[in-house]
């Protein structure tokens, strides 16, 4: 992007203007996410910077909203913080209840989506697969069809099938929503896969299962893991289906946030949001590392 030496003045001016424009767009992308982090430490119940915060007065900051995540919904939040207080938190705190549900639903639906999705991607990436295009279009469609329509359909279906307000119902729905991501990432990894490797293994006497475990799986593992992470994030972030088919017992973190924003928004939401941003930074780093590893394995080196 460096300017060549022969660039005219007009080109130079435009070049720097362009860089400033790009900088502003990056600011637009990232600032809304970062702005909630300092605000979540606000000692006042406001959603904006107080004078004390701008002057970096320590008195303007506190962890009270993080504390509120633990105490909200507890039977006796004012009690002495000993073993029984922590048990009370673990059993009654609303956000922990939501976190437990999100974790159960997220992990179970991710396992489901990853196993089924990887198997299907193996079949879909074979050149002899019949009706490839139509099958692929159907399997990707849960990602494209608006969630409100999927949720409406599931509401009717689950009410009739007795799956409404149950964990298996929500896990199945979330697995279905995560599957397109697994298929897309795994087929993308398989598109660079050298099929002569598996043929070589077979000709040396390996059974299909051995070929899969010893040759194919290690090579596509980065793709499988990033697909699984996508599926997990999809489930961890999903609120419309949960809104339609879950009861309080299956309340997840996004649903609790949704309720919080609709009923009375308090900075506790910002504290939760900050924690979620930190989690997504961790996930993003994992994906980036996996991508580099995959490129290294396949012999593409980043410049």
């Amino acid at each position: 992007m460096a300017l060549p030496a022969h660039a005219s003045i007009g080109e130079r001016v435009w070049h720097y203007c362009y860089l400033v424009i790009c900088g502003l767009i990056f600011l637009f992308l990232i600032a809304p996410i970062l702005v909630i982090i300092p605000l979540s430490f606000n000692i006042e119940p406001y959603f904006t910077f107080t004078y004390k915060m701008i002057t970096f007065d320590p008195e303007g900051y506190s962890l009270r909203w993080y504390d509120k995540i633990l105490t909200f919904g507890m039977a006796a939040p004012e009690a002495l913080r000993d073993g029984s207080w922590w048990r009370d938190t673990w059993e009654n705190a609303t956000w922990l209840h939501a976190l437990k549900n999100s974790a159960i639903i997220g992990v179970a639906s991710t396992l489901f989506a990853t196993v089924l999705g990887t198997l299907a991607a193996l079949g879909l990436s074979r050149p002899e697969m019949p009706f490839r295009r139509a099958v692929m279009a159907l399997l990707i469609s849960p990602m494209i069809v608006p969630l409100i329509i999927t949720a409406t359909g599931l509401f009717f279906f689950y009410s009739g099938a007795g799956l409404a307000h149950t964990f298996p119902g929500i896990i199945m729905a979330h697995a279905m929503l995560g599957i397109p991501f697994v298929i897309i990432t795994v087929t993308a990894t398989l598109s660079g896969f050298d099929h002569s490797l598996s043929r070589a293994a077979s000709s040396l006497g390996a059974t299909p299962v051995t070929v899969f475990r010893q040759v194919i799986l290690p090579l596509i593992l980065p793709g499988v893991i990033s697909g699984a992470l996508f599926a997990f994030v999809t489930s961890f972030d999903e609120v419309v289906v949960v809104l339609f088919v879950a009861s309080y017992d299956q309340q997840t973190i996004p649903l609790q946030m949704w309720n919080g924003i609709r009923e009375q928004i308090s900075p506790t939401i910002l504290a939760v949001a900050t924690i979620l941003v930190v989690i997504s930074i961790a996930l993003l780093s994992t994906i980036e590392l996996l991508r580099r590893r995959s490129e290294r394995l396949r012999g593409i080196s980043p410049g």
Binding site: F26, P32, E128, T150, G153, M172, S226, M257, W258
Partner: protein
Amino acid sequence: MTAAEIHQPETGAMLTTADGAPLKEALARAMRRARFRAFLLVVPLLIFVLVTFAVPIAQMLYLSIHNPVFSDHMPRLTAYFEAHPDIDVPGEDGFAALALDLAASKKDRSAGRVGTRINYERPGSNSLFKSGARKAAKFKGPPYKEKLLKHRKDWADPHLWNVMKRAAQAHTLGFYAAALDLTYDKKGEITRVAPERRIYVMLFVRTFLLSALIAALCLLLGFPVAYLLANLPLRYSNLLMILVLLPFWTSLLVRTTSWITLLQSQGVLNDLMVATGMVGDDGRIQLMYNQAGTIIAMTHILLPFMILPLYSVMKTIPPSYMRAARSLGATPVTAFMKVYFPQTIPGIGAGCLLVFILAIGYYITPALVGGSTGELISNQIAFHMQSSLNWSLAAALGAILLFGVVLLYWLYDRLIGIDNMKFG
């Protein structure tokens, strides 16, 4: 030896495998087996997606044309309508069927549901049915018409009978008509509803226009950034890519919450504008709970879906083309417009279609920051599902939306191919 001779050796015998089977057949058999094996790997997922996705949506589509509430709970009246299809306001026999059905509905407590069903098309019918059912339960015998008319004159309303006659048909296109702001008038002919009640066509149009605007804004903001990312050395572009991918990976509700904090009238942006003197403290701008809120927040949320396809297309355009154009005497603007830009069109198409498809089905963000003027069609579907409980209308609205999305999805597959969709 010519090619034909290789395939047909002099002996005229066919090529065979070691165990004597004709080679062609053996090959076909092996191909069939390979196809079957590939298909077998996909079958479990196919069944799973059919059951958890295709069947529920099919069920929803069926519900949009099938509403058996009236015919199930008013069987005598339904049978009467079948026997007398042309009647306007019936005599004693029709009222007898109505009164007996009402009495039965009092017993199994379905009068409210039947009343609600009629209420969709004739406001005020809900209370009429509830109180009518209570009265009818006490009738000892005929004359039913006289007794019902003594309860309320409304029972002789030809419009009511018209609506009931249509509701008695479980299979109906009436909900699609309602979803398009159409109704049956008192004579039973299709007309548009009163102007103040026309909301759905306006909402479909608004959803379409706002989605197009959001896609255009995303293109406007995404194009320069994608160009920068594609032309920087990988070391820098990988770092800047994180700024694009982090929003992509951050929870939708977190991003919506951030926009609420930023856009509120007591929020960060307004405070900033007041502090810098751009607006007075009493002139705070309403940025949220209106269309502006929906547009700003959704553009931010969908921007990565524009940048990523643009970037992957721009990455494949060799920089030497632009240099060649310049060296042949083109100005920077001409070189860009005539040489570079046309090559990015596949990326623009992919990004715009993707953003548009995702935008027209958005629900969460408009519901939280859109208010009533920034509301999209999905919000009305949710309203009918959760508050008004007119599920058939919700299903009909959903079906129309689904039709639009499937059309765009088909277009996307034809133009770009779903195989080419990538993340990160």
